[in-house]
Symmetry: C2
Amino acid sequence: MADPQHANPLDDLLARVHARFRDHADGETAAFVKALGTVDETDFGIALTTVDGHTYTHGQATTEFAIQSISKAFTYAVALADSGFEAVDAVIDVEPSGEAFNEISLQEGSGRPSNAMINAGAIAATSLVAGRSSNPYVEDGASLYTPDQGASSHDETTGRTSAATPTDGTRAATPTGGVSADAPTGPREGETRRERLRRAFSTMADRELTVNPEVLAFEREDGDRNLALAHLMRSFGLISEGPEAIADDYFAACSIDVTVTDLSMMATLLATGGIHPRTGRRLLDQAVVDRVLGVMTTCGMYDDAGEWIVRVGLPAKSGVGGGIIAVVPGQVGLAVYSPLLDQHGNSERGVLACEALSDALDLHLMRGARVRHAAVRSSYPVSDTPSGVRRAPAAERLLTEHGDRSRVVEIQGELGFGPAESVMRQLSRLTEVDAVVLDVRRVTEVTRFAREGLVRVAAEHADEGRLVVLVDDSGHVFTEDATERLTTRTTSPPDGSRRNQPGVIVRRQRRAAIEAVEDFLLSRHGDEDLRPETIEVSDAILMTALDPADVEQLEEIMRPRTHREGDVIIEEGQDFAGIHVVVTGSVQTTHADEDDEEHRVNVLGPGSSFGEFGLVGDHRHWLTVTALEEVETRVLDAAALARLEEDDPRLALRLWKAISADAYHRVQVQLAEITARASEAR
Amino acid sequence: MADPQHANPLDDLLARVHARFRDHADGETAAFVKALGTVDETDFGIALTTVDGHTYTHGQATTEFAIQSISKAFTYAVALADSGFEAVDAVIDVEPSGEAFNEISLQEGSGRPSNAMINAGAIAATSLVAGRSSNPYVEDGASLYTPDQGASSHDETTGRTSAATPTDGTRAATPTGGVSADAPTGPREGETRRERLRRAFSTMADRELTVNPEVLAFEREDGDRNLALAHLMRSFGLISEGPEAIADDYFAACSIDVTVTDLSMMATLLATGGIHPRTGRRLLDQAVVDRVLGVMTTCGMYDDAGEWIVRVGLPAKSGVGGGIIAVVPGQVGLAVYSPLLDQHGNSERGVLACEALSDALDLHLMRGARVRHAAVRSSYPVSDTPSGVRRAPAAERLLTEHGDRSRVVEIQGELGFGPAESVMRQLSRLTEVDAVVLDVRRVTEVTRFAREGLVRVAAEHADEGRLVVLVDDSGHVFTEDATERLTTRTTSPPDGSRRNQPGVIVRRQRRAAIEAVEDFLLSRHGDEDLRPETIEVSDAILMTALDPADVEQLEEIMRPRTHREGDVIIEEGQDFAGIHVVVTGSVQTTHADEDDEEHRVNVLGPGSSFGEFGLVGDHRHWLTVTALEEVETRVLDAAALARLEEDDPRLALRLWKAISADAYHRVQVQLAEITARASEAR
């Protein structure tokens, strides 16, 4: 038996992947790890954080290790946030260098580093982080690498903070186009650059991180190549401050201790586009995240970036401390830690684990979008699924003849570009019909292109004299704004009060949409009798099962009533108010949900009846009925009905049989829609 | 007014993008273009082909130009298909070189080219294409570069062809793991290597392509660097044949003339994973396409690959002829042609147009997956939306008390990894309930992980003694196989014949699922009276509106009937057969669609009634009713009903009022479900 708290399948997968590579002991630890002598080579941890902040881990999830080059992705993000794209791009390119992480590699002529994921680029990025320089030769090292006073708790301020005031030796925050000055949490006045980075990383990890002084000491000792790069870059005018100070800030950022759990959280910050998965705060602008992910895609895995994209297919960054992060935009951030490195400097077990997870979870970006179900779920004339409204034989014949001059198009799924294009193409071809029903209730996502395209195609059909009925029960495809643009620019208002005109109307149910199309077809192809503005009571749907003599008798005891536009004829919750037959005009029925939000159920025109719900259960009305225009009805009220039952039980019996037949007909129409759906889905 | 055939919004977009960059005349044409002197510098064409083979174009869509380096992507594909991954990977790496296309660039030590998108790699890939060598110094050039006899029509053979028989000077096709020997169309015996490529490209473009002799002449004349590379690679033992012959085949492939329309078709072949968008034939294995796209992502745009990924975010390849292709996996292939090149050798207008299209159509791979709607659409106890089955007051009280020991979870959209994880996590937490309804009717896509995860979570709940009801009307989430595994490994068969046992059952409608949960809760928390195996007629739902004396009278004229498992009690289409009250056992109702496929509508147990549909319209039954086990009913048949109406119209009237109330109650329950959905969707 399983645990009372079920093991999530993902926990199992992480355990399986962990077990599979646990004994894989190839590779060597980095020089700094060897020098420290404190790291266990068998350490192996996997963490995965979802965009809503849930973390799964397996193995060493709380073991700290040096972030090393993974810091480059986040230093780049902070530099972009603090100094803006223009200033950063002037100094750092975005091209893969194809070289190992520690090559002395600057572009010919400009001296510009190829990208921010190699050492030269990361040093340049560090120089573009807002904050005061620390002078490693003057200030005491150790004190610098623990949190500033007052910075040990997270900055919980919200809203924009002002840019730091420039002081001597301080690079001011100079945000440009689209970059928040306060992202992530913003620089603080007088703060050192390295403290700004440490604090920013801590906010991203949602945990107070510290610089590991032993690692920092090693990096300084071993820092000649990086100091050389910093000096070279100053010789090209790319960094203006003391190369030693900048390099030392870079060393400090690389020496921050993290766990694989911290890293998965930081990776997920990139997956969400900059919103922290736990706290929900926006820490980075979308544009900054887009840029960082783009550069990680081609440059994140040292000189193994190509192989990585082929095998794993995700933006990623690794560090010689043994960590790797990988990002699935919109879905999840992954991190793996194992200190044994391959010849490229990437964690051996880390690469294997990421590949296995990408494969098992279908995360590869170049493979994810495969084999979609068609966006158009089905397309058929309304005559295939009649509304079920009973009509005069002549009207039925006319609908049989002209029913195929209409089309119900059901769309489903995520309307990314490809599916949206296909839908629009199919809709554009419907030039031979009089009416189009566009059922978007199964659409889950819409891009701008898809929404605008649908609006446009709908508007064009309306302009060309067709009726377009949108079936949408949520409003996320046809937003309020889109619906308003559609229904106001065309001739028919959405409330259906001007029936049978070309234009765009909205219905919540397919049956109601089909009824509207049938009415439109009757008015276009038939003469006035088939869809009259005023009917006789004997033509009402409810009365079709009764013979003329019965109807005549009933008419005698029904009272005529008139209502003006907006009048509430029946209110939800009131006692049974009688059976109403609509003779002229139209009404809408609505039902309030528990939040008192009214939802339209139906629009009823001449020949329909309402009020029967008041006959059910506690004899209270379940729907509110409102006049959409001037309405004339005939009402058989409760008292008249009771008298009829008393005085002429046989007629009352026939009336109740008619009411039953009408009710079961409604049940049948609804069930038919449901089974039709099941049938289409095959 | 718009055209009778609507302009598709995409046509407009292409026109707008074209107009925006038409006058952008920066850049220079390639040396070969200058030498030819036949190209119009203002040429600018855009083409886009969808995965179902529809092509949109604007500008010069039929102008031919040399494919140049775009051939490298497809030569690489053919080499992988002909020689297998192992042989190709031994000779060509997959890493970005960060260098210009024509650098003399081979990896230190091995001499291996960094990737197949630079000249050295493409020459090596050419050597791995199956086919006979051509000797440019012996054979007449011109005759070589037009189609072989008999090769001018497309190869329409289907199925696998055998690998070419090796002959002298011919590299045999040596397919390995997962690579089709016949992709694309397979090598032909005795065919030259360049003819194999020309023919393969033609099949991909779905048009007969030819080598442009003037371009080829220029490439040969200007071929020193490439000949040097070929010789260097032979010195490393990477190519075994005459470097001149291999280089000449490479020149020939680069000199093939294409249009932007051809290129968009070839790009879409990669978008579909290897299935031709027009012909529907599989030309390349998925694994080959995955590899080609992976390498294009980091290496396709010369030394501008990083910038391209940041700005456009798609796998792509450009050529100095002025063409660019870009691929949106699963959706579309793009191609642009304009001969003016930037300093990287990429078409100026081409890059700008691709960036504009990627932006307008949300095609950027690192941005596409944003801001999803939650996969769990809603989650609530069954007591929030009762089934509407009317029950005894004690049962109602018990459901009020214990209704929250159940949960209806509605899922929607594409269940990629992220959404699926979130769903499973929420489902795993439901350890405090007795029953779970999992409504997957709005799910449009499922990955392996999602399906297996859902099956597993459902099975675990069942193993722990819960009732799990799957609401699925299409079977694409819970496939037949998955359903069978679920329903056979748990205690309750899917037909519901052993009611109220823990296990997994399937229902098509939410209302039916909720009813099953209510029954389960009653049997678990109540005593036997609340969900008895056998009821009295007076306890039937239909009878609740009648007083005991009336029920007693009706019982006298109802006939008892028994049926065995599998008996058809009422057949769809037959005349009214009476109103049946189920006393013991259960039945199912089904309805046949136009293809005579039966769809289950409902399962009815003791206390339910059926047969009322036979009262509607033409008095024929609309549903087939079948006994799921030994069933006992009481039937009021047509004759008895007619007699009752004649003899005791007042009692008949009360019965018909009860029937009406029951019917309207059903209508109300269905409408309530629809408005509840609308409410949730807000």
